[in-house]
Symmetry: C2
Subunit: 157 residues, 2 copies
């Protein structure tokens, strides 16, 4: 029965990430420079932001080292149009796919017990007080975060 719950959560992640894949796959660099609304983030920034956030999931979930820590300064620490994009549109799309492949490959190896372990951004003390701050919570939270930005990314053609 645990396995059914876990498979359902993973399927939900794949559905959301798959829709974002589709949204961005056909866009070239010029289209990725469009902002989702006046003075709001560019599509390029959103994809960079999602890539950096998903890359951070690997250490947070205990999967392993992350692949691209250099993305954080541009796409997490700073708002859009502060620093130059450090990679091309094609390289960003490739990185997005690599990062998601690492996350999926990691979580598909988790046992039910692994899913309920604390994620590494929570202290032992805080986790003892609130055991819902587990890896599954972080995974669902990041699924929602991806949906949040997917809702913005569809506003522009």
């Amino acid at each position: 029965m645990e396995e059914s719950f876990i498979n359902t959560a993973i399927a939900s992640w794949k559905l959301v990430v798959g829709r974002i894949d589709k949204r961005f796959a056909g866009l070239d660099n010029e289209q990725l420079q469009k902002q989702v609304a006046p003075n709001k983030n560019r599509l390029f920034y959103l994809l960079g932001h999602l890539t950096a956030v998903h890359d951070r999931m690997s250490p947070l979930l205990g999967i392993g080292e992350r692949l691209h820590p250099e993305l954080d300064e541009v796409y997490i620490t700073n708002p859009d149009r502060t620093l130059a994009d450090p990679l091309s549109a094609d390289d960003l799309k490739k990185t997005w796919n690599d990062v998601n492949a690492a996350v999926i490959s990691g979580v598909e190896k988790f046992s039910a017990e692994d899913w309920l372990k604390k994620h590494s951004a929570v202290s032992d003390e805080d986790f003892a007080k609130d055991p819902t701050r587990n890896r599954l919570a972080l995974f669902l939270n990041r699924t929602n975060h991806a949906s949040f930005h997917a809702g913005q990314a569809i506003l522009v053609k």
Copy 2:
């Protein structure tokens, strides 16, 4: 252990719905008339849409009859600005809260077995082929749907 998975999924829903509550609570009717981007949905329409979609969850999850089927024509079947809003901003906010209270009250009574039952929009035959089309999948899917529109709702002040 099933209980931990379920509690985590319910906590994720509450987090997303709670953020939407906060986003809309302080807005008056005039502010709710703003569009999230040029020629896109008004905040009022988004809240109506989320309310109608969450209301539909009650029969889909086997919780019971829905409370406000009259919202579907305005906020699901038709795009924004096709039909007049059938209720005031205050009544819409009250309805949003009522509908979510019904959903939470229903799912908090589910056993682990209940969560893995099929939801009522799937035929017995299709469910036999794909048992991940269960109530938990629908619940996670609607959590993502709410996040999707929450991402749009924060684009306008």
